[in-house]
Symmetry: C2
Subunit: 191 residues, 2 copies
DNA sequence: GTCTATAATTCGATAGAC
DNA sequence: GTCTATCGAATTATAGAC
């Protein structure tokens, strides 16, 4: 064994860097220094900096799309599908908080064709979410509000977890947390 | 009059650039080209690129802090303060969507001392929000949930507007929109 | 597989002519 | 006030020794 590092070390360091400083500010030198090698060595594992972002980005995007497809294809009632969807977001944000953060902004740094691929991927994901929401409206389980407003409010209401969970010292009981968030989204903040 | 452009042109172009590509990818040359001048000319109006970001960032941060202070100091009941707070977010996101977007991530590109200033500013803002929420819990108007979960869910639930409103073709009636969003946050998505 | 050295580019910012 | 020209630093990526 004459390997100083592994490919996983590079991806882990890249992810940490992008999460804290953003893609552009995370230099190959900084990634290398973080794991104790020189920048040139990275190119023995990956082709380019963009490939690092691309891999990390589509890996987590696939998990979201797969998850929502499975929920959609399940036999749950529409409202229960939405509950499952919120749970999916909480679980992925808990398991992969750093990677989830990439989905918000960093896709802009992909080159044109990869960027289009990502946006198509995201559209497929959001279309399924919108479809589930529409079904829940149609069967009278959800408020009859403009579907975009409903969709974005739901999506947005769980988009703070990826930045909060890593810093959360108290380590709130995850089952309790999910219960509370679900309650807030389904039945509102007011008592 | 021998001025080709104005300071406002520079800030407007900078803001548009950062909104679409991020601070690091928005070069002084690109800003200049967008308004039909050379990059060097910008330095006749501002000292540095960071000054552009700093000005735009604190300008909008001040509006949020001022707004929430006025709400807190008003004679509204706690729950009504929260309604006012949601309305404040919707109004600022509508009036300054590009600038609001800066608050999410771009503050990371400020230099250390300005970054600390921003974070102190943001903490003051969120502390007031937390205080209002706690008061509303105490008087029995809000669900008795961990205040961080409540705060982040509310803050997050209106954080999609700045990116959605500029692209919203249908131009939904703003009064109607505010009513619906308020309803979703206060009473939940389920009917 | 990792290193040193460096090529090629791009960026923020300045100097000085007009 | 705006321009051309350019400096100096930083970046991604490659070449080649070991």
């Amino acid at each position: 064994m004459n390997r100083k590092i592994s490919e996983a070390d590079i991806y882990r360091s890249t992810l940490k860097g992008i999460y804290h400083q953003g893609y552009k500010s995370t230099t190959m030198r900084a990634i290398a220094a973080d794991i104790g090698i020189e920048a040139a060595t990275i190119y023995n594992y990956v082709d380019s900096k963009e490939q690092l972002l691309e891999t990390l980005l589509f890996e987590i995007a696939d998990k979201f799309l797969e998850g929502v497809i499975h929920i959609d294809e399940s036999s749950y009632a529409p409202l229960d599908k939405i509950k499952q969807f919120v749970a999916l977001n909480i679980n992925l944000s808990r398991s992969y908080p750093y990677q989830v953060s990439l989905l918000v902004n960093e896709w802009r740094h992909l080159k044109s064709n990869k960027q289009e691929k990502f946006l198509a991927h995201r559209k497929a994901y959001e279309d399924i979410v919108a479809k589930i929401i529409q079904e829940a409206i149609d069967c009278g389980d959800l408020r009859d509000v403009h579907v975009d407003i409903l969709k974005n409010t739901i999506l947005s209401a769980v988009r703070w977890l990826f930045s909060w969970l890593p810093e959360n010292k108290e380590k709130i009981n995850p089952v309790e947390m999910e219960k509370h968030i679900l309650e807030l989204i389904l039945n509102g903040i007011s008592k």
